[in-house]
Amino acid sequence: MQNKKPIVILITLFFSSFAIVGLLAFLSKNVTDKKNGFTRRLLPTILQARKRQTFPSMIYRIAGSRAGKLYLQGNNPYLVYTTNLSLDSVTSIPLSIPPDKKISSGTRQYLNGQHLYISCRNLPGIIDYDLNAQQSNNHILPYYYSKEACFSEDRFILRAKDRKTKDPVFVKIDLNIPNARQEDHFSEKKDNSIFSTDGILYYDSTTHLACYTYFYQNGFICMDTNLNVIVKGKTIDTITKREIAVAHVGSSVTMKQPPQFVNDIGAVAEGKLFLRSMLKADNELPLDFAENTVIDAYSVTNGNYIASFYIPPFKGSKPFQFHVIGKKLYAIYGKTVVEYDLPPI
């Protein structure tokens, strides 16, 4: 009888290990499915891929469109790809720019008419490449910046450092007068951290508003090109400001731990802000949220929430970036760009 006891104990422990694993799995599922305290107005329509095009290299972003052509930035800063709005063909345009090691990474291309601006945050400066004349003009800036938006020929809004407090502020510049800059009067100047208010800057050519969305806190702001705040919008999540832990490593500054995102990539077009939310609404199915990219649409003129929809995955991947041009949504998945019909909003 005594010899049987260890076997009983072992069997009991064996089954209890399964019970513990099951319990942990259940608790883990409950954590993932936790309520975030808000709901979405999800559109019933599902985005259908209309066209797709695979490019020779990774595509980072769509620089803009003109004369029925899309201009796309790949991983080569000395090249721009073009295709038509239906993504039927691909053409590579080499940019005759003098090679510079500092523009090998961290560049962003913006199209404004015949001007292809190449923002080189690490230069720091902006190269104005004339697509018609095939000539470039370097505009070196006397300070570094972390975001940029082109609002007209040679004019940009940047997010740069305040000269006195070192806080991030929005500045308006004319590339032809690089030393002159106009600063905003609304940015908070209290914690010196670029990280806590980090986000993305956009420009909507329809409403002539520049909008800024935050990664780690609720809300967005839209300003006119004179840096006056027009709208302070609230995103539908209930997250207030996240505290970001900052670490100093030598002379550089970084984050101490992975930040919790509230909103991520987005696009602005025709008076609407399309923003990817990183938080599941209480009325969403966990699998829908996990597999798709949820986009919340807001009005940039009054800040109101309009509706939400999903960008489906392509070959199991979520889009790295997306753009809205007219009634089309272009999502970038590595080397492939997929065109969707934008749902009526």
Binding site: S28, Y60, S105, Y143, Y144, S146, K147, S252, P258
Partner: protein, 68 residues
């Protein structure tokens, strides 16, 4: 004595399984790419999130070539 050893071994097994499951559950939540002082040279290129900057100038530090 033998029974105690056996029971302890079994308990260790249970804890090991439970611990591994718990750690994996935590890992699954951190899906967003990020950088930190653990790997300051891992700032992904073309991602809009500020990652590692020079404290004085805001020059991006350690941006790597492949983004996604």
């Amino acid at each position: 004595m033998k029974k105690i050893k056996l029971s302890l071994a079994a308990l260790a097994l249970v804890l090991a399984i439970a611990g591994t499951t718990s750690v994996n559950a935590t890992k699954a939540k951190a899906e967003t790419p990020w950088c930190s002082q653990v790997d300051p040279n891992a700032c992904p290129n073309q991602v809009e999130t500020a990652c590692c900057l020079d404290d004085a100038t805001w020059e991006v530090v350690g941006e790597r070539a492949k983004p996604h």
